[in-house]
Amino acid sequence: MPMLTPSEFTLRVAGGVLLWIGMAGCWNIMSGYTGYIDFGPVVYFGLGSYATAIAMTKYGLPFVPSALLSGVVAALVALPIGIPTLHLKGAYFAIATFAFAETMKQVCLEFDRTFGVSFFEGSHGITLPISGHDNTFFFYCLLPVTLAVLLVHYGIERSKFGYGLKAIHEAESAAEIAGVNTTGIKLRAYVTSAFFLGIFGGIEAYWITYITPDSAFNVHNTVQMVIMTLLGGMGTLLGPIVGAALLTIIYEVLGTAFVEYYLVMVGVIIIAIILVMPRGIVGTLKERMGLRFI
């Protein structure tokens, strides 16, 4: 373990906050605005991690193009997956997306053994080239991507696309007969979300330098995205920012102070907030104060 200077520690936490704001934001673009609960977004994060790892180790590509390629790979996978699954409603959509994420994890685990190749490296995982970069570097890698995700949110709030998403959330067949191309709009949201998740996966893989199918496709990441967005407020601009920042900082602070039982404390805090503010912090404030575009 290298010694962390205070500023390095702060930057690591700040990088984590940025990463989670961005990832929660990705989930919010799709699920928060349309109400379609995606329970497998981690699949695009994981595919992004693997795309970057493979591009850098097997093809010698530099980091930045690898990370962008990860976004493209994730989006290209999201397209054929989105078309059939986005016809499913409610729990069926959640189950299908969850199942797809687990499937991809198994593919990464078993592909090499099955086909006798050396590509995903199975359960051994892939070690990425050691970057030698400090946390400052990763902070500045994450910053533009997270800002881009937030820009998409800002665009959603007052655009044709955004009104389409919200109409789908409220009453899908009424949206259809009002001329909303529901399948097209849902697919756009799904692919956009996958694109950015892919980039985040790529950056994170290079940051932690070692990935396995279990870490890259860990359902815990999905749960985090969902909880952060619910905590902040689904379908709001500021919800993912508030939820992700709050929860990441709570993890860091309590995790350092109460190593043994901080998770119990986090759980209690989440339950308390949701009981008092059932539509999330931002969602509930919006409702009580009659605010609209935040």
């Binding site: 007052r158 655009s159 044709k160 009104y163 389409g164 919200k166 109409a167 959330h169 409220e170 009453a171 067949s173 009424a174 949206a175 259809e176 007969i177 009002a178 001329g179 909303v180 191309n181 529901t182 399948t183």
Partner: protein
Amino acid sequence: MVLLECDNVTKNFGALSAVHTVSFALNRGEALGMIGPNGAGKSTLFNCIIGLYRPTQGRIVFNGRDVTGMKPHQICRLGMAKTSQTVEPFRAMTVFENVLVAALHGGQMRMAEAARETAEVLEFVGLEDQSDKLSGDISVPARRRLELAKALATRAQVLLLDENMAGLNPNEIDEALDLLRKIRESGKSMIVVEHIMRAVMGIADRIVVLNYGAKIAEGKPSEVVNDPQVVEAYLGSKGVSLAHESDGRGND
């Protein structure tokens, strides 16, 4: 001139034939009434025309173009809009935003144009003073008008009105009829499904009668209400003339 034509449209749900070889035409500028007892297949037929259901058999031709099997948003953009029997506003949105969605997507307008169109339509239907209210918070008659406003904002040529007056009292029905006449004068064609005879009589040029999924009569309102088959469908074989059944109550 024929604007919309249904040619032998059939819709089966399993063994049940909800709509059975129904053919009719709607002329440009016409208001066609469509009546029939509960379960006669009126809403199913509407849903076939608007693309929510794909007909089992038959063709739907709009403006000379076969639209059978097209998606609802495509049909909407071609120029047909439906108001639903069960009003489903986008509740978390304001009245203005509800209509804006239709103008943006159905009318395929840009934001500034859609906003202008929305303001005009809201004034036209008399909802301009409620435009900033959440659509879940407005009264039933206002919701019916909102449905009309959404349909109008798509700039549809044909409006399919599925019991747009259900749940209204006699005064409100009069107001709704005035509004429908105003819409007609603006050059729209419409098909009006309604249980309330007075409402259909007050607006329709011609009436199509459905019973058990089949068309049993078609003609001028005065002819249709005296048609023995129609009277029987509505009131049983010993029925009296439907022309007398003209209070404001729907039967559901």
